[in-house]
Symmetry: C2
Subunit: 609 residues, 2 copies
């Protein structure tokens, strides 16, 4: 069987023991791998009620069956864990080269449990696994950590996934970082921090076996041809995810903590402006799109700042929430979050939340350590980021995420906490795109845009058909379509960017995964949809086991009750009840509870018979 | 002929042209290579009166004939240039792996002249030389620059020598940095900055030819055996240059801007304290000593700070001058200087100078940007370092070096400017060791300790014989002995640390250089001394051509007229006139002018007949 190394490394930090096991054949048939593998293992390994920051939680690093192969856009690694931010199932995904190196070292997954008695990092050199002292690395930024570990191991080709000070300090939206790419969302960095695990360093020289090499080459040609035929390929490749003009022109660029949908002077942060700040293009392992930029502020108040990025979400995170349109700030904040180890989306949104609380008088300079938080003023932002990473002053509160911060502040602060299931909303106002909003409402990890990106509504992608973004009717089906597609593509693990742009489909993916693995079931493109839906329902059941249900599929009140005040989405609200009803119906879930019916679970092979 | 690649790369940044030429055979016979090669080329290439920061100045990177070979402690690269700090001849030397990589790429020397019209870096991949855009790197720190260049070139084995913001900003004591090792002194970084040259990146796969491989192996065994037989080898290897206890116990640890010789609470910065802060040992290419430490402040006010180092000079630079004994500060300041691209010795000494001016009321908070400079208070130090690198507030003055800063301040500030020939004094009070002081007074680059380190006085080394450190008689001869020995060892280019500790001698070196090169003249150990003296006099003549003479061999007044107030060197002054007379006599220089006599020059083959 190609594609897989067929080896899962299980590491217990408490006992400093490790073992290797194969992947169950039935698991591969039913879940393919990647996201399917991670979701199934997390579901099976954890019991309900585990404290996310306890030694009993797991963090599972997964490389998909197509990672490390010549297939395009599969250089992604995902981490799976119970989230300290949402309290539920979580998957977070990063790019770069870590996934490929895992395969080259001979592993499809690395499962880490327990807690080390002092800071360690794992050094995985194919068969050799070492628990190495990381006391000296504790407190260091991600880039410093990567440089020093490579030097210590005397091998510049080692790939490293690490946490920064934010993860060490258990910030609930601290991420995990590799090659300046982040698996940013949901607090995987805090889970590593709680285990005293500073980093995983990995190196390998194996090759990934391919079941049918000639067919695989053909499938890759087909994939690349599909990419190139897509109208968005060229601009996406050239500029990356610079789509602030799209969302501003749709009036759904969240501004002033989701009170407005158009950023004043948004032209200053559109793609053509970032074109001027591009240092060079980079990309992940084996991806012709190479959408990544390294950017530098050549002029202005942040002159000299640089980062790998910023991508659209980060550009938004440090503009819209605080009503600022300064590209240099987005670059400086991006770099600072990468170095300290923070998710930019939650960080930016937490700061926007603080700005609104300050405006409303719910917090004062006594809480902020003297900082005045006024919309339009970017001066406090870098200081607030540091406060969050080090849990100082207001940062100590914000580091819990907006949901918990609002709960602790009380006095109505909850009204300004813009999240679903505890995960801060990203750069799309749900009022401007109903299927996209429905995905944010129902994604198993909370308000995540990539979980079921509505390229139909944002980019006008005509697959499966053209839609009206404000229309409610049919959006339950569409959200399910987008979510299930991402779920099966992430068995690869394919990048969600080409998926969001509808640059690939089940046919492309089926050809690739079948040729690589030789698993007969994967030959049928229609089977991909079944696997996608199966994974989606399994994840939902993880959350159901934790007590989640319809009560957690709840938008922030503002999105549901306040019509968009102005701009191209003026007058729109998010019709939560009707949209959710349609969605549950499309999913075959109980309309009252939002729980998958036994019938649906049986259909997907998820129920014990 | 082994040892040499016999190729000098000449690069003109103005025309973006380059050429390769062999080394003249006579040059090798007379000057061996390394320091001899650099000194001779700089002497021949430059005319008197060249502005150090003009395109006409050169910066010559030299790797010695033993760099890149298996001989020990020859992984050093030197840069040669006319100094913007002293106005005279300058050589500055760094460690790491850059020298070896130069050889592997096929070059003994890289001569850079002219000025690029915009920031560039040189990319030297054996025969291929590229002038690459460095606009995006301008403003970046050294470590950032190294990381980004390696990524741009997609080769993690590339070695890089670069400048930080201080070099770009033409700070007159900005250094050049590679592998976190500095060629720190004299302003080579400013020379690169004046040429718009951000970095040289180099990569090679050649091997260094060896004339007599078996004899060379024997010579290396002899060298290593000599090392190991030396009483200092083990402790030097274990702790590095942690000698603050030596100099404090000798009462010559310059404190309070050279007013005192013992630091209060110096026990806090002795080697055993830094042992506790060691993260790991590192070293340069092919050196069994591996004296280098990476250190981290695990506790205290600078918790989390780390650096490669700090070495003795840096430990002193951020303790003695400001009367502070906080190891964390030395680590944080070391790292900041490395990153911004500053020489730690001149930086620390400039800060100590500022503290004394503040005490005396010659500068106020109006000059310092509000900082209060009080002995014993370390809080302003990191801010002052940044001010120097970016030429802000008081830093703009200090960035010119203490000599020029004092001149501009006037009102008697010159009295507090502790330098010789414009180069700030290092961590040895000349009153406590007369031959060591005599070397500081007469070294061709200004007050440099490594130019002729008096291991006899500091460590009690009995070679050529035991001496009394306070004794004046015989110290002219001893200073010459130490200077000439370093000069011939640096034709290797051997590290000055084993030289300072008297761990090697002409016999060891002669065996190595003869076996490597096969040049008959090098077989005779006595010939090494001739070459050393020849180089020393040639360097002196460079300065004579620039107008230097006895008038420039002048100690700061304080050292000559104020007896050491307390401690183990109490009552001592530096007997400048008598010591200098002895030295000139030993050198065969004119006693009135300090200029080498024609007779001496003829004897050394330096006079046109």
């Amino acid at each position: 069987m190609g594609g897989y190394m067929n080896r899962i490394l299980r590491v217990n930090l408490s006992t400093r023991e490790y073992s290797v096991e194969p992947i169950a054949e039935a698991l591969i048939k039913n879940f393919i791998g990647g996201r399917g593998l991670g979701a199934k293992m997390l579901y099976d390994d954890l019991s309900a009620g585990v404290d996310p920051l306890s030694p009993e939680n797991e963090i599972i690093f997964v490389a998909g069956p197509l990672a490390g192969t010549a297939a395009q856009s599969f250089g992604r690694w995902s981490i799976f864990f119970k989230s300290p931010l949402t309290g539920g199932y979580f998957q977070s995904t990063g790019g770069g080269f870590f996934a490929s190196e895992m395969k080259f070292a001979g592993y499809d997954a690395i499962v880490v449990t327990g807690k080390a008695d002092k800071p360690v990092y794992l050094w995985i050199n194919e068969e050799k696994v070492e628990f190495r002292d990381a006391s000296y690395l504790w407190g260091f930024t991600n880039e410093e950590t990567h440089v020093l570990i490579r030097e210590e191991l005397n091998d510049p080709f080692v790939r490293i996934a690490s946490i920064g000070p934010a993860g060490e300090n258990l910030v609930r939206f601290a991420g995990v970082f590799s090659d300046r790419h982040a698996a940013g969302r949901g607090g995987g960095g805090a889970v590593m921090g709680s285990k005293n695990l500073k980093a995983i360093a990995i190196r390998g020289r194996k090759t990934v076996p391919i079941a049918m090499p000639e067919a695989f080459q053909e499938a890759i040609k087909f994939e690349i041809a599909t990419y190139r035929a897509h109208p968005a390929f060229e601009s996406f490749s050239r500029t990356g995810t610079q789509i602030a003009e799209f969302t501003n022109l749709l009036g759904m660029f969240p501004t002033r903590n989701f009170r407005e949908g158009v950023l004043p002077n948004w032209e200053a942060i559109q793609g053509s402006e970032f074109d001027k700040l591009r240092v060079r293009k980079t990309g992940c392992h084996n991806c012709v799109i190479h959408c990544v930029n390294i950017s530098k502020a050549y002029h202005g108040p942040f002159k000299g700042a640089w980062s790998e990025g910023p991508e659209y979400e980060t550009i938004w995170a440090f503009t819209g929430p605080i009503v600022v349109s300064e590209p240099g700030l987005t670059i400086a904040a991006d770099r600072l979050c990468d170095e300290l180890g923070l998710d930019t989306i939650s960080t930016g949104q937490a700061i926007g939340f603080a700005y609104e609380l300050f405006e409303k008088g719910l917090i004062t300079t006594q809480d902020t350590g003297g900082l005045e938080l006024r919309y339009g003023d970017f001066k406090p932002v870098l200081q607030l980021i540091r406060q969050i990473a080090y849990k100082e002053q207001l940062g100590a509160l914000l580091s819990e995420g907006v949901r918990e911060a609002a709960r602790r502040i009380g006095r109505g602060a909850e009204h300004y906490a813009i999240h679903v299931k505890g995960l801060e909303l990203p750069a799309y106002d749900p009022r401007g795109a109903k299927a996209h909003g429905l995905n944010l409402l129902t994604a198993n990890i909370g308000a995540d845009h990539n979980y079921g990106y509505s390229g139909q509504e944002i980019f006008g992608a005509p697959i499966p058909k053209e839609v009206d973004r404000f229309e409610v009717q049919g959006k339950g089906e569409l959200a399910k379509f987008n979510q299930d597609m991402v779920a099966f593509l992430e068995t690869g693990i394919m990048c969600t960017f080409p998926a969001s742009m509808m640059m690939v489909n089940e046919e492309v993916y089926s050809k690739l995964i079948y040729a690589a693995t030789g698993v007969e079931e994967f030959k049928d493109p229609a089977y991909m949809w079944i696997v996608g839906e199966r994974i989606y329902n399994l994840e939902r059941m993880f959350n159901v086991r934790e007590g989640f249900g319809k009560k957690d599929d709840v938008m922030p009140q503002r999105i549901v009750t306040e019509p968009m005040p102005d701009g191209p989405s003026k007058g729109q609200v998010f019709e939560q009840d009707e949209l959710l009803r349609q969605y549950y119906a499309a999913r075959g879930w109980d309309l009252e509870t939002g729980i998958p019916t036994l019938e649906k679970l049986r259909e997907l092979g998820l129920a014990q018979r």
